[in-house]
């Protein structure tokens, strides 16, 4: 069996969970069942939602000590369910939460963990995983060493959530993990946002992102108008946020957010790899840049070579026509 560890917060599933399910189904290739475990407290609705996936079972791993995330509690619960189910692989979304606990989980189980996976395949029947190296300058095909289970975390946006096959209703199995409260060393306080207007761009359906080509802070008014016309969130590449023109939470890329919206419009962004890794999973990418050689055009579905200060207002006018 291949086990997916779902991610939820306050009972709501992270969309990247469905990407991990898609990866697990691809890895299983019809030869192995895929199961899902969701860890937390008050997770009945999340488990019911997961039961719609084409999976053999959903394990609702429920414990009051999982109510707010801490790495020690999640490692204990995940180790418990993995030991009970003996999967061949464990798939997780490569989220900040996975990055926090999965390496410790792998170390405690004494098993391999391959992170940031963007592709799964087989060579001579054995699973082979593709992952970026050297900041995306290269991609590596890697195999896990040592005994199963092998843990795999999937880069956000690398697999399509809508490619996860739906089934006819998988059974939900309640599982109460053994967690020794005395062994929990971290105490978590409630998550908070630094700014009131904070936005989770990973959940946005459409994003308009601006880069160095925007040139000056006052031009962000036009960028915001363009985003509004698209019904999109406004985002940026790192230099814009480093300048303080937009808050850091709106930064897309390896040091910012990773997104996979339906539409990504890159305006005046050249497309350095640090930016591309954060958005290349978008379904449709539009690049608008005056430099025809900009790497952004290599990942774009639609490209306009032109002055963004002319194309931007024209697009706003066109979109407002409805």
């Amino acid at each position: 069996m291949i086990l997916v560890i779902a991610e939820q917060r306050d009972g709501r599933l992270n969309r990247a969970t469905w990407e991990a399910i898609a990866a697990a189904q691809q890895l299983a290739d019809g030869d192995e069942p895929v199961g899902v475990a969701v860890l937390g407290s008050g997770i009945d609705a999340a488990a019911a939602e997961l039961a719609a996936a084409d999976v053999s079972s959903v394990w609702a791993v429920n414990h009051v000590l999982l109510a707010s995330y801490t790495p020690d509690a999640f490692v204990a619960a995940a180790a418990d369910v993995i030991t009970a189910l003996s999967p061949s692989h464990v798939c997780l979304p490569h989220s900040y939460q996975t990055r926090d606990f999965a390496p410790v989980l792998a170390a405690r189980l004494d098993r391999a963990l391959i992170t940031d996976v963007i592709g799964v395949g087989r060579r001579d029947g054995a699973p082979v995983f593709t992952r970026p190296m050297f900041q995306g300058k290269l991609v590596a095909e890697v195999v896990a060493e040592g005994a199963a289970p092998h843990l795999v975390s999937c880069q956000i946006g690398a697999f399509r959530a809508d490619a996860a096959r739906r089934g006819s209703g998988a059974p939900v199995i309640a599982h109460v993990p053994v967690i020794d409260s005395a062994a929990l060393r971290q105490r978590a306080e409630a998550p908070f946002q630094e700014t009131k207007a904070a936005v989770d761009l990973s959940q946005a359906e459409r994003i308009v992102a601006v880069g160095r080509g925007i040139k000056a802070q006052e031009h962000l008014t036009m960028a915001q108008a363009l985003a509004d016309a698209f019904g999109a969130e406004l985002a940026a590449s790192r230099p814009i946020c480093d300048n303080g023109w937009l808050p850091m939470e709106r930064q897309i890329g390896s040091s910012g957010q990773t997104v996979a919206p339906k539409l990504y419009v890159a305006v005046g962004i050249s497309g350095a790899i640090q930016h591309l890794v954060g958005m290349k999973g978008a379904r449709t990418i539009v690049a608008i840049n005056k430099d025809a050689e900009a790497p952004m055009f290599e990942v774009a579905d639609y490209g306009i070579v032109g002055d963004l200060f002319e194309v931007g207002p024209a697009l706003i006018a066109e979109l407002r026509k409805g």
Partner: protein
């Protein structure tokens, strides 16, 4: 407070990789190296903790003899001494193997705090810190943007996704992985560079053979996967055509 900071030597950002003949690694004789950027922020945070709370900062690095370049740089910025887990096989080892070698080298020192960057700019496993914490039996937290110390405890600000943060507390000793941008980096002064020459680097050779948990079958340059439809014409015409195709072809509006 006795602070260890683990740093990695990685290729410079400008480096353009060339593959080795067997295509399982890069031509590593042609690389110029620098300190992994997130580790530089971890070093800075360690120096600030020492300035506030006293103690010493010990820089730790795993790798072939070449990594003494970044060890010397850390010493020049203000670290007191260094531990070098030295083995040629650590040059391309994964995070698992590096954590094993470093755990062995630092365990006898009984550090109060171990800091490192959230991930490396070369292999990018983002595993070294948490695996080291587990091997040392320490609690940990990752992607940290603020470190507070009081009464034998750490209180840290952890970055979540989407502009969210969270404070966590844990007892010392503990391990943290540091996010880039947590502080403003200092650079080595001439005085620091001179002083670094006299600072101690303890070289430790791992007892056990260096064993990675994953094997690279092949490396390659990423393929361009998309056909880009270039839309031409006046700004107004191009805008009209783009919107039409986004509505009718891509169906994203």
């Amino acid at each position: 407070m006795k602070i260890a900071v683990c740093i990695k030597q990685v290729p410079t950002r400008e480096w353009q990789p060339r593959l080795s003949d067997d295509r399982t690694w890069v031509r590593d004789t042609e690389i110029s190296y620098e300190m992994n950027e997130p580790d530089a922020y971890a070093l800075e945070e360690a120096l600030r903790l020492k300035e506030k709370h006293g103690g010493e900062v010990v820089v730790v690095s795993a790798g072939p003899s070449r990594v003494q370049q970044v060890i010397r740089e850390a010493l020049a910025r203000g670290a007191d001494r260094a531990i070098h887990a030295q083995d040629d096989a650590l040059g391309r080892a994964d995070a698992w193997a590096a954590a094993a070698a470093v755990a062995e080298a630092v365990r006898p020192e009984q550090f109060d705090v171990v800091l490192t960057g959230l991930q490396s700019d070369d292999q990018g496993h983002a595993q070294f810190g948490p695996v080291l914490a587990e091997r040392l039996g320490m609690p940990h937290s990752t992607i940290i943007m603020e470190v507070l110390v009081a009464d034998g405890h750490l209180r840290v600000k952890r970055e979540l996704e989407g502009g969210w943060f969270q404070y966590l507390s844990m007892p010392l000793p503990a391990l943290l992985t540091i996010q880039s941008g947590i502080n403003q980096l200092r650079y080595a002064t001439l005085k620091g560079i001179m002083a670094a020459k006299k600072k101690d680097i303890r070289v430790v050779t791992p007892d056990a053979p260096v064993t990675s948990r994953q094997r690279v079958l092949s490396l390659s340059v990423p393929q361009k996967s998309k056909q880009t439809a270039m839309i031409t014409g006046s700004p107004a015409d191009a805008a009209k055509e783009l919107v039409r195709r986004l509505r009718e072809e891509a169906r994203v509006l």
